[in-house]
Structure formats: structure tokens, C-alpha cells
Subunit: 194 residues, 2 copies
DNA sequence: GAATTTCAATACCGATCGGTACAAAATGAG
DNA sequence: CTCATTTTGTACCGATCGGTATTGAAATTC
């Protein structure tokens, strides 16, 4: 019929995700976006709608990737305790590795937008609930296999671990001494060792 | 000498604190501020400097009040475990009580500004470190009095509890079911009961 | 009470905000 | 090719942004 789109939608959405992740919703301008995405304003609006719709699309892309990564980390582990150790130590390692500390895009959004926008309250909550289920199922597998104490409350423990993950991620945005994060990871893992 | 100031500096700074706490730095405009503070722009600039300096003053006021509140909650307790129980249950109660979920001004700032502004990285980190010391000293008193297991690592446990507090506060911004928060509080308190 | 000083209020500044009208360029269908 | 259709690039929109020059009012000193 007519002229073809000159950009790859997934590619420019990824660029939008990166910058929203770095700077948040309010601090990111349309000029920032078009520059980083490499497209013009009318193209952006035609493809994604307004700024908030683009943000939502970027966040959805992030949560999908994030959930999939975490799911992969807890699939088919010989030791659940070991999987959690690798997970939390990786969280710390990653945070101290990059100069800029973006943290978690979903948590950033939970703080910036969830209290003022029900759509993002729901979106961010559902992502955390999904992660909680991943943790819970991992714990249940650990109990079934005999690795973990069968008297553990899998759901409650998963919820507590998710909250610890959130707290650690947010705390590291202020760059405390590395020993702080390491101590916390040790403390978190203790809860699996009872 | 000359004309006197017509507003109380502490009172208008408190108003600025409230609105920055609610909306964050970027989403709060000077019009929002002057409206809520009840003063004109030139008065604001004369008294507090520019927007970021005002934000810093508001945050410093918040951290002082916040630290003082928490210090009071852990001073002269018959039972340390009971003090922590009251503290965390109060945190949850408060979050679900107010319609708008402001969370903690310091944590909001940690997410929004700490990664891009060293001044706020330091300011927010030092506040969390201060709170950690309060927790640590409370735990040490509990050990000394015989209430807590003397094999507990007071510092590491305090750090883990601070991270749990942060995670819980942030998680509640997405308004999970009340049972989620209650389960987490139970899990947190378990760490003191070993 | 006049002079001086500091405040408050209005009005305004250039810059940038999110968003769009419009026309040129590019593609496919006939 | 010609026409229809869609994307692109430019240029622009009103509104609002953070910040300030200016003027008039209020209060103290002499």
C-alpha cells in the first residue's frame, strides 16, 4: 500500500526502556526520548501513543524480561539454597559493577508513579506478586526434595524474601559500603538455613 | 531597621516538606510550592534559595523528625522484641490507614535523586546508617539484658532489619493485600526470636 | 514624620515542556 | 506512470517550567 516504517519497533522501545529506567518518567523529556530512540516525534506518537503510553509499554517490556530472567535462575536447580545465594549475590555484584545505579525499573516506578496512578499501582504490584510465586515454588521444591525444613511456610518466606530483595535493591541506590550489602545477603540466606 | 517577615519559616518549610514528600522533586512545580506554602516566589527564593536547596532543607527536616521518632520508639523498652513488633506493625498500620501512600520521603529521594546527585546519595545513605545504629544499639541492649540470643550479630541483624523496613515500605506503595504485609512482619520478627 | 530598609506582590523573562499541523518523500497498487 | 497511502522531517503550537526585575507597601530609626 504505502511507505514502510524505517525503524524496528522493538529496538526503539528498548531504547525508551533504557532511558525511562535511568531517569524515571518525569525527568525524561520527549527530546531525550527521540534523541535516544533515533526517531522523530510524530513517528513516536504514531507508534506508541503519548508519553505515558510509551512508558507503560517500556515497563511491560521490562517486567517481562525481568520475570523471565528470574524464572530462569530458579529453574532446575540442584540446590535451592544455592540458587538463592547466587541470586542475591548477583544482585549485589551487579549493583556495584555499574557506575550508574539504575536499580530496578519496576521498583523505581512503584515509588514514582504507583501512589498517583492506579494503572501503575496494579502493574507494579502484579509483577512483585509474580516474582513472589516464583520464589514460593522454588521453596516448595526445596521442601519436597528434603533440602529445606518442611516446617517452613513457603508463601510467607517467599514474601519476606521478595521484600528483602526490594529493600536491598533500593538501599544500594545510596551506595552503602559493600560490607553492608554483603552482611544483608548473609542475613537473608540465614532464613533458608533454619 | 525595616519590615518584618510575615511568615513563619518553619511552618512554610513544613508545607514544602509535605508536598515534596507527596509528589517528589520533579513532579512538584514552583506554583505547587507557593500555593501550598502560602508565600510568593520572591519570598521563597529569598528565604530558601532555589528549588533544589529548598528540597534539601525539606529533606533534612524530614530526616531529623523521622530519626527522632524512631529513636523515641526504641528508648527505654522493657522488651526489645516487643519494641520491634510495635514498630513494624505500626509501619503497616500507618501505610494502610492513609489514602495517599507517601511512604518515606527519604526512600523516595533515594530512588529519584540519589543515583543522579551525589549530595542526595550521601544524605539518604547517612540517614539509613543512622537508623541502622539505632537498631543495632537496641539489639545490643536486648542481648545485654538476656532477652536476645547472645550469639546474634547485632550489626548484621540491624542491617538486615533496615533493609526489611525499606523493602516493606516500598512494597506497600503498590498496595498489596494486607495479609502480604502481615506475613512479612511475622517473618521479620522471627529473626529476633531465634 | 521623613528617610531608609526590607519585605511582598505583580508581572514578566527566556527556555523548555508535551503534543501536533503540514508538507515533502517514499512506497505500494492499479 | 499515476494515484493513494503512510511515514518522515520541519516547524510550530499554547502552556508551563524555574527564576527574577520591579514596584509599592510596611515597619524601624532618627
Amino acid at each position: 500500500m504505502a511507505r514502510l516504517r524505517e525503524f524496528d519497533e522493538e529496538q526503539v522501545l528498548d531504547a525508551a526502556m533504557q532511558i525511562f529506567w535511568e531517569k524515571g518518567f518525569e525527568a525524561t523529556s520527549l527530546s531525550d526520548l527521540t534523541l535516544r530512540m533515533g526517531i522523530q516525534r510524530p513517528s513516536l506518537y504514531a507508534a506508541f501513543g503519548d508519553k505515558k503510553e510509551l512508558f507503560e509499554a517500556a515497563l511491560r517490556k521490562y517486567t517481562q524480561i525481568h520475570a523471565s530472567n528470574i524464572r530462569a535462575q530458579f529453574h532446575n536447580n540442584s540446590s535451592i539454597r544455592e540458587a538463592f545465594r547466587v541470586f542475591f549475590e548477583g544482585l549485589v555484584e551487579q549493583a556495584y559493577a555499574e557506575d550508574m545505579n539504575r536499580g530496578c525499573f519496576c521498583l523505581n516506578t512503584m515509588v514514582e508513579l504507583a501512589p498517583h496512578d492506579e494503572k501503575f499501582e496494579i502493574l507494579t504490584r502484579e509483577h512483585q506478586m509474580y516474582l513472589t510465586v516464583i520464589f514460593q515454588e522454588a521453596i516448595e521444591r526445596g521442601i519436597q526434595s528434603g533440602e529445606l525444613n518442611p516446617r517452613l511456610n513457603a508463601k510467607a518466606l517467599a514474601q519476606t524474601l521478595i521484600v528483602s530483595m526490594i529493600g536491598l535493591t533500593v538501599m544500594m541506590k545510596s551506595r552503602p559500603e559493600r560490607s553492608f550489602a554483603d552482611n544483608v545477603v548473609s542475613g537473608i540466606l540465614l532464613q533458608l538455613a533454619e
